[in-house]
């Protein structure tokens, strides 16, 4: 955190000064470790084993927060008899090896089917859409206008039932013993025990523990399950929804949270509404029934979606045409950026916009990325400088290896200079969901323009060019609301007008104050339901800047946090079931009986007048079906999920699997790798996978590489490698290794090393440092190679891109690549240049016996 989010880290230092214990768990010793109370290195790729060990410790020692767990989690819920845990073989029930998928119905609660609040919601489509048809047929006869009531799953508050979540959890994590943690992660038992004791001693009524993570947890073939493991642990310890608790994702770009909320992502619509998948006879009702929940705020999905469709298609969206629901293009499987690259290589995707992204060095398997770029008809790059993705056609590594020739690359490239944040108005959403407005200070120079300008005027031109078209496919474009006021010498569209559209309007056209005002009858519009209220009263709430010193510690009058300016999500859980704070020390939001409402330091993330003892009617649905203790209001059962009966593709519980390319066998299960990881779509000669563990040839790649960032640079370098003041601070690419590895491989400090995988070879200067330590994993010494990934050949600070080495092997849930742990070789000296570079890669492949089938098994 000190390394990549130094200014955020001031609060950790402040907590430390007040007595907090800071424990840093990371393969490398970083700037964070330097000021932490303890640094515990673990093997990259083994975090589920580590966190699973903590869960096992908490359950075995009885140190979980019993009252919290009983009231606010699904610990007591009974799970279907069809569920079979991942035993020695590491496979849960429902596995289909031919299609590399699970039938998630094998993991459901007993006697009912619940929908997830996030994640993959289409997997239950058929069941739920059919249910809706049955329900619609019976509507008004058997069940009244409220629709059928979905029976809650049975539960056992004694937590003794063998199929209750709590008992399943206990059995599942029993194999994650301290001994196993030591063998898998390389963390000595004594260190592990120290961490376990520190965390449990610091959790409960009076104290909370927070976990902070970044892409060190997400960039794995089991990345989502890393986060799930932490969620289970924090829920057991009662650390969610409470001040000083939580699991904080530290995100690396100014508005990467915003670009997830208002997603430039293939699988989402604004506000985490799923993009519809292709289904026959799908209409709005079927979609809503299938993807929404029966209880909680996701039950209001129809209001959110209809309001979004009204924002986009205005008067054209009517009840008769399903509010233009059919205008939305449909998904067939994954269309992530990695599938897009394959589609480019295949010639299906011909045009590409790169808007502040540099995949030629910044995305996994950089060579595959460049091959995609070179296959395009046209490419638009919008950035500050001539990044590698803009210049691959003349100086990419494939030109020097002879794989490509400039005169053969048919990609037409448009480089358009981008406006800086000082040259445009708009909002960023930071890592805590806080929207903050930045104001235009000056107009952008030369041809530089904002993306707002680019997108608006591109849309305007395309619409004009197609204005005369009678083609049905152009109707979504004709009907699109695309009329924003412009100003200034460049005709810059008004960002505030866009924000007002995002906020939404009620039936009278006035800005809505909250998502609870949204209706499913077309009378309201809202571009992103979770942002409803950011323009309440016609005021740009994101631009609020009451100085922090003039506010309390929650600082609610600075910017605006979604939803409804709530700063801690699920904060109903900061009070006990009766509505009293768990302790005075940790008081945050509580029930004020005298006023008949929830109150406290933050805006309650709960219906403000719903008393703690509220019991909904049997036939209640949606938000009304939430009881006074259902703190997790987005969840279909109002509970934090220790066990996820839906939403995940690779198991209702986390299980440790080794990374795609690993020198270590899976000691917990015979299944080596995540059985449903995504590798098959990326079979390509440039994306060869490696043998692992005991497989012959794995000895060729005996070391574990992990990629990361440095304080001095930013992601793929587009905003740092060109700046003299930053470039000089870290003037070139380097790798970090331990003195022991240096001795083993004959590597010298400040000398050169060549690092190799089945994908590519790169060279790096060597920093020999004790900050990387060999770990003993199952009795064997494992060396790790640290690779900061900021570099590429362009700019003032240069070097090979670490992403040349990484494979495209993805987490199945979110399609994120595994770049935080992969096996490699390292040897002294510079890599060969020219065609010899390719020959060396082929030599590695040959020595390891790599074929197109290597590493592809389920």
């Amino acid at each position: 955190m000190a390394e990549c989010h130094p200014v955020g880290f001031q609060w950790v230092m402040e907590a430390k000064a007040r007595g907090a214990t800071v424990i840093h768990i990371d393969p490398r010793f970083t700037r964070t470790s330097a000021v932490a109370d303890a640094h515990v290195p673990l093997r990259a790729g083994s975090d589920i084993a580590f966190l699973g060990g903590l869960i096992n410790y908490v359950l075995e020692s009885g140190k979980y927060f019993k009252d919290y767990v009983l009231a606010y989690t699904n610990a007591a819920t009974i799970v279907t008899e069809d569920f079979a845990d991942a035993g020695d073989d590491g496979l849960f029930s429902g596995f289909d090896p031919d299609h590399r998928t699970y039938d998630v119905r094998a993991w459901q609660y007993e006697g009912t089917e619940v929908q997830a609040a996030s994640g993959e919601r289409d997997e239950l489509y058929d069941d739920r859409a059919r249910m809706e048809q049955v329900r619609a047929a019976g509507r008004g006869e058997a069940h009244g206008s409220g629709g059928a009531h979905v029976e809650p799953a049975p539960s056992d508050p004694t937590l003794a039932h063998p199929r209750c979540v709590f008992q399943i959890l206990k059995r599942h994590f029993a194999r994650y013993t301290p001994e196993m943690v030591e063998r898998v992660c390389g963390i000595p038992r004594s260190d592990f025990r120290g961490i376990a004791e520190a965390i449990t001693a610091n959790s409960g009524r009076d104290r909370t523990t927070v976990f902070v993570y970044s892409v060190g947890w997400t960039q794995h073939t089991v990345g989502v399950q890393y986060i799930r493991t932490a969620s289970i642990l924090q829920s057991l310890l009662g650390n969610i929804g409470r001040p000083g608790g939580g699991i904080l994702a530290l995100r690396g770009h100014a508005s990467i949270q915003g670009s997830t909320d208002i997603p430039t992502l293939f699988d989402l619509l604004p506000g985490y509404i799923p993009m519809p998948h292709a289904h026959s006879n799908e209409n709005l009702n079927a979609f809503v029934a299938a993807e929404g929940t029966d209880k909680g705020y996701w039950a209001e999905l129809r209001s959110y979606l209809v309001s979004l469709l009204k924002s986009w298609w205005g008067p054209a969206a009517t009840a008769e045409n399903d509010y233009c629901f059919d205008y939305l293009p449909r998904l067939t499987g994954s269309h992530s950026t990695y599938e897009t690259v394959m589609a480019q290589i295949a010639g299906d995707c011909r045009g590409y916009f790169l808007l502040g992204e540099n995949p030629a060095v910044g995305s996994a398997n950089a060579r595959l990325q460049r091959r995609g770029l070179a296959s395009l008809d046209w490419l638009v790059v919008r950035d500050f400088s001539l990044i590698e993705s803009a210049t691959f056609w003349k100086d990419g590594p494939e030109i020097s290896t002879g794989e490509m020739r400039t005169e053969d690359i048919g990609t037409e490239v448009f480089f358009l200079p981008a406006a800086a944040h000082t040259e445009k108005s708009g909002s960023f959403t930071n890592t805590q969901r806080l929207l903050q407005w930045h104001h235009e200070a000056v107009e952008p120079p030369g041809d530089a323009r904002s993306e707002l300008w680019f997108t608006y005027h591109l849309g305007r031109r395309v619409r004009e060019k197609l204005a005369g078209s009678a083609d049905d496919r152009d109707r979504p474009l004709h009907d699109l609301t695309w009329d924003y006021p412009v100003s200034g010498s460049h005709d810059e569209p008004s960002a505030e007008a866009v924000l007002a559209e995002i906020n939404g309007r009620d039936g009278s056209g006035a800005p809505v104050k909250s998502y609870t005002q949204l209706r499913d009858d077309g009378s309201t519009s809202c571009g992103c339901w979770i942002y409803a209220g950011v323009y309440a009263d016609g005021v740009n709430q994101a631009a609020r800047r009451t100085p922090g010193k003039e506010q309390d510690w929650v600082a609610p009058a600075w910017g605006w946090a979604w939803p409804a300016n709530r700063r801690i999500l699920y904060n109903r859980a900061s009070a006990d079931p009766s509505g009293r704070p768990w302790s005075s020390r940790k008081a945050y939001v509580w029930w004020d009986a005298s006023r008949g409402g929830w109150t406290g330091h933050d805006i309650p993330d709960f219906a403000v007048d719903k008393p703690p003892d509220y019991v909904p009617d049997d036939d209640a649905t949606g938000a009304a079906a939430l009881s006074g203790t259902d703190a997790f209001i987005m969840q279909a059962d109002g509970k934090a999920w220790l066990y996820a009966p839906a939403g995940l593709l690779d198991g209702p519980l986390p299980a440790h699997y080794e990374p795609q390319d690993s020198p270590v066998p899976n000691l917990l299960h015979s299944q080596q790798r995540n059985p449903v990881r995504q590798v098959a779509p990326f079979a390509h000669p440039d994306n060869r996978l490696q043998p692992s563990a005991a497989e012959p040839g794995s000895e060729v790649f005996g070391y574990v590489a992990t990629t990361y960032r440095l304080t001095e640079h930013h992601t793929a370098g587009g905003m740092s490698r060109w700046l003299p003041y930053l470039a000089e601070l870290q003037p070139s690419f380097f790798c970090e290794i331990s003195p022991e590895l240096a001795a083993e491989r004959g590597l010298e400090h400040l000398g050169w090393a060549t690092i190799a995988t089945a994908r590519n070879v790169i060279e790096a200067r060597v920093l020999v440092t004790r900050r990387l330590r060999p770990l003993t994993v199952d009795g064997k010494v494992i060396h790790q190679v640290g690779l900061p990934y900021h570099w590429g050949p362009n700019g003032r600070s240069t070097g090979d891109a670490a992403n040349e080495l990484a494979a495209v092997s993805l987490d199945p849930n979110v399609h994120i690549q595994e770049v935080k742990a992969f096996a490699c070789d390292i040897r002294p000296g510079r890599r060969p240049a020219g065609p010899a570079r390719l020959a060396l890669v082929r030599d590695y492949q040959r020595r390891a016996g790599i074929t197109e089938r290597t590493g592809m098994e389920p």
Partner: protein
């Protein structure tokens, strides 16, 4: 003089982010160094203070006995170094042009419009801070953002510092704060806080976690102008030489 202002750099909370280095350069327009190479000094590629580096963060990787830190054997010290703005500043004493002067804040500043690049100040500095720029030959160093101070602002480095490792304020207050801090931090010691030391105490002083040498700081700095009279003789001689050189140059420049 108004109140004497200074820096207290508490290295125990430094995270080595180098914000101070960049903020200083941005504010003061200090040139970047072209063609820098990796130095291999941990994460330090700046190397030391100089004409183009008025803040410098040192990184020291140490092996320490197991149990000293949680990591059984590793400690990473970081410290942001800067001009000490000595109470008895030799650079100022030797400056023949009056380019170096003591400001109303008690800080020592080179005036770029006066400095003629004679360079006497460079060897005079007991810390090796002040340095001449290769292109214009003039001497440059930290001004403690003299222009900002005059407007009641804090220096750019101190303002940027994410963890408040660099603190700016009245020197008396900083010394009090430091005295408390050194009691609270195990293994801490102060450097440059003592008015009775060889330079009469520093206007920029430090809390260190190890001996000064470890950070590249002289353990016992002494104002180099203790022997001023003899030094002035050299100055006088040098001035004569310089006048002669200037005259010669003037002569030569005639067509």
């Amino acid at each position: 003089m108004t109140q004497r202002m200074g820096f207290f750099t508490d290295t125990s909370v430094c995270i080595g982010c180098k914000a101070c280095e960049v903020a200083c350069k941005e504010w003061n327009g200090v040139p970047s160094s072209d063609g820098r190479d990796l130095l291999g000094l941990s994460y330090d590629n700046t190397g030391g203070l100089g004409a183009d580096t008025w803040r410098h963060v040192a990184f020291i990787e140490q092996e320490v006995p197991a149990g000293t830190t949680g990591d059984g054997g590793m400690r990473w010290l970081m410290s942001s170094d800067v001009c000490k703005h000595c109470t008895n500043a030799a650079c100022l004493d030797v400056c023949p042009t009056g380019a170096l002067f003591r400001t109303e804040f008690g800080t020592v500043v080179v005036q770029e419009d006066i400095c003629n690049g004679c360079g006497y100040c460079v060897p005079a500095c007991p810390y090796g801070v002040i340095d001449r720029r290769e292109d214009d030959g003039r001497a440059w160093k930290c001004t403690m953002c003299y222009d900002r101070l005059g407007d009641g602002l804090e220096p750019a480095c101190a303002k940027a510092c994410p963890t408040d490792s660099i603190q700016y304020g009245p020197l008396d207050e900083l010394r009090e704060r430091a005295a408390e801090r050194v009691e609270a931090v195990p293994g801490a010691r102060l450097y440059g806080d003592d008015p009775s030391d060889g330079v009469g105490g520093d206007g920029a002083f430090f809390l260190l976690l190890d001996e000064p040498e470890v950070y590249g700081l002289p353990p016992d700095p002494v104002v180099t102008t203790r022997d001023l009279p003899s030094m002035w003789r050299h100055v006088g001689a040098a001035a004569c030489v310089m006048a002669a050189v200037a005259a010669a140059a003037f002569t030569r420049s005639k067509p």
